[in-house]
Symmetry: C2
Subunit: 475 residues, 2 copies
């Protein structure tokens, strides 16, 4: 899986973006001239429209062919309280928003064409599993889905399904945000008692980053230790490095080739924004992230069955991969995977800034000491409080932009306590320092416990998790 | 490996080609606007120039932007004695020429930038091996090379090298022309006593043809039997299906990804003529044909060494793959493979027509009976003889366009006998019927012996050849 990093059109200057738009317009005309397939034309048009939105966002002007941008210093930085007209950018390599509240997820649901997880979905999951819903579901952190009712229907009819999630191992350093899909996936595995496959896309990280194959493969193994430390059941979980598994499973490669036959360059260009200057490895990679969505990629687990339904919990930025996967699935005779999408985990500096593995102060890392956690939260966590204690007491703080409060919605289990914190902070009864202390006291034991569990993860245990084998799971 | 089949720009109407050219011109401008990498721009320009040559060939006019072609019925078919101005088309999916003598190979050497195999090269191979050169070398059937002296230098210095060739298994039916690279490769294996890897690109055939993975994989195994029947030594030969080997060798996949990181879409577009409407499988496939050129793709054979030189005997239409491979090699720290290029095997109907697996009369198939061979040669082999016996006796025949004579240059071992046939046919002493009889008597026992050897090839023997394993070879 890819992280939310990399280049996007919003990093371009207005003139560069203007030229890119003009070129894309030319490409659309060429496709139409060549009478290309409708899907290809649509994909190119989709990218064109996306660039136009970016252009307007950056320049404040509508794009007009033949009219280069006038003011190069337009409203590029309109601060944390920017208007709602701006469209957030969300793709596997870039997530950006100008709002301190973070990405507008309701708009994203409309744009991506997924479904919101309303209360009825949460209720149904509780009914089907007989368990209280995970706090990520109760609090809308997993906020969107595709076809979740289909896997629940199957489960109610005593048909099993399986879970698939993953990680792009771009460095040894993982932060708490990286754990979100794994914490939730472990809960799903426990309540449904189903098999889980976890893809480490070390091939992808080699293709996208300036690292060697050996480094990427090493990161995959190191990251696997942190993932295992989340408590997955070795009897039900298969973790694999692409670099290893592609070379040990003819069934996996067959599915990759099948998908690659049914996706054109025009399509990946429209979905992922690839250009003619991208390497052919990037261009064909989406098929490799798609393949684990089909159960016969794992004959050792599913006895060669191709029809076991798949549920993918992931951050919403990974959805483009699985939109493509769901588009291809019926054409190669496989069921479409279902999805559960999470929101993004905010950087300490605020929901509109990026976390970066190269900036240790942008998040809480899984290797941080209690002292580092305390210092980072106190120094760097963006506060929704007022400038003075007096003002705060009088007018109250804003939990909606306060990063400490956001982090607590992820990690504090007690709903009532969380609601009380929210109210007290908003009313001014709870000061920013108090709020930060609650977060520090929540994170310190959580991270320490993770470190303790990770220490128990031996190389032998990693080897067990990463060996292709039969898994034990419910009837 | 790909066969000489498929679509090419020369199959387009003048107007279609005009539109394709216009679109390609636009693309070049876009690349320049986007300030794309020089290699990418060069690749796009190379394709543009190629299209312009095709355009002139088809329309007789120079391409002018904004001026669509006038006469749509220009000199499209100028017969077997067409002038020398036309440029032959040679790429992995299409070989076409308008000359009955076949492709102009001297021009091809200049165009591809390879080196002609002159007498000094043949002499050196004889000196190094202590063996008389194979008739394919003596007669210029293997006519071109890249860096052959480097592998001969290495060999003289007691350093080993290895052979790599392959086949695209597009059907069960193989004809005698398909055996040319294998007959020659077996000779090379014998005289140098070196290991050989043979790639069956069943993934490629699945991507290019309307066949299933299972069919393609089945063809790979059936074709392997015909290849084994050429007499390869199981102790020195590894035959592999891509669909199987990719899924059983992490080292092979690692090299594929390495190559894919270092080749852009612009480059494969320039080299292979891919378009935005091609599937991502085709676009990334060239890396899979490139990877066996590097010895660490076969750790079981070379103990993980990456520096064992590789020599690739193949038909010249495969050269684009290996031009790309040689371009990438130094950038990923591997030696460039050396090449020996063969001419094409002509169809029975003449050197300017295509052989086709779907037209049984276009060649001699490896399953033909003696009766079928006799009938095909007599009925379909294009003759360089005169219209009447009297004229033939008086003016003589033309062995240069006579397909029976061409076939004899491939299969008749005795140089003196071949030269006598040529002279007698040219003088008129030898009639077409006599010449055809000599060919029939050469082919019948050759094909019968092949069929006998193929019958001995058990599934168990195929399994042995296709199992990744250590090979035994010279010191």
């Amino acid at each position: 899986m890819t992280d939310c990093e990399g280049d996007a059109s919003v990093d371009l200057s207005p003139m560069e973006l203007y030229e890119k738009l003009t070129a894309q317009g030319d490409k659309v005309r060429i496709l139409k001239t060549e009478k290309a397939a409708k899907a290809d034309v649509d994909a190119a048009v989709e990218l064109l429209l996306k660039l136009k939105v970016d252009y307007k966002k950056i320049t404040g002007q509508d794009y007009k062919a033949g009219c280069p941008p006038e003011g190069n210093e337009a409203s590029q930085d309109n601060g944390p309280d920017a208007g709602d007209n701006d469209e957030d950018q969300v793709d596997p390599w870039n997530v950006s928003t100008t709002s301190a509240k973070g990405v507008d997820y309701d708009k994203l649901i409309v744009r991506f064409g997924s479904s919101k997880i309303e209360k009825d979905v949460v209720d149904r999951i509780e009914k089907v599993t007989g368990q209280k819903a995970h706090r990520f579901l109760r609090r809308g952190i997993f906020f969107s889905h595709r076809d979740i009712h289909q896997v629940l229907d199957a489960y109610e009819n005593k048909k099993s399904f399986y879970l698939y999630t993953g990680r792009g191992p771009s460095s040894e350093a993982m932060h708490v945000g990286h754990l979100i899909p794994f914490i939730f996936t472990k809960w799903l595995q426990d309540v449904f008692d189903i098999p889980l496959v976890i893809q480490m896309t070390d091939d992808e990280k080699y293709l996208w980053k300036d690292i060697t194959l050996e480094e990427s493969h090493h990161f995959a193994h190191e990251n696997a230790k942190d993932i295992i430390a989340c408590g997955f059941d070795v009897k039900k979980t298969f973790i694999f490095s692409d670099l290893d598994y592609m070379g040990s499973s003819p069934a996996f490669y067959r599915n990759v080739v099948k998908i690659q036959k049914h996706v054109t360059f025009n399509q990946v260009k429209g979905i992922f924004g690839f250009t003619d200057s991208d390497c052919i490895g990037k261009i064909s990679f989406p098929a490799i992230q798609a393949a684990p969505s089909f159960s016969n990629s794992f004959p050792q687990i599913f006895n060669g069955r191709a029809d076991v339904p798949c549920l993918i919990p992931c951050a919403i930025d990974q959805d483009p991969y699985f939109r493509m996967t769901r588009d291809v699935a019926p054409r190669i005779g496989y069921p479409k995977p279902a999805l559960l999408h999470s929101t993004f985990f905010p950087a300490l500096q605020g929901a509109q800034t990026k976390m970066s593995a190269s900036d240790p102060n942008s998040s809480i890392f899984l290797t941080d000491t209690p002292k580092q956690i305390k210092s980072k939260v106190n120094k760097h966590a963006f506060s929704g409080g007022r400038d003075t204690v007096e003002e705060h007491r009088q007018y109250g703080g804003n939990p909606e932009v306060d990063v400490s409060f956001m982090y607590l919605t992820f990690f504090l289990e007690d709903d009532e306590q969380l609601e009380k914190i929210r109210k007290d902070y908003k009313s001014g009864a709870l000061l920013t320092g108090d709020l930060k202390n609650i977060l520090i006291e929540t994170l310190q034991p959580m991270i320490a416990a993770h470190q303790e569990r990770r220490k128990q993860v031996t190389d032998e245990l990693v080897r067990q998790f990463m060996t292709p084998r039969k898994l034990d799971f419910g009837s």
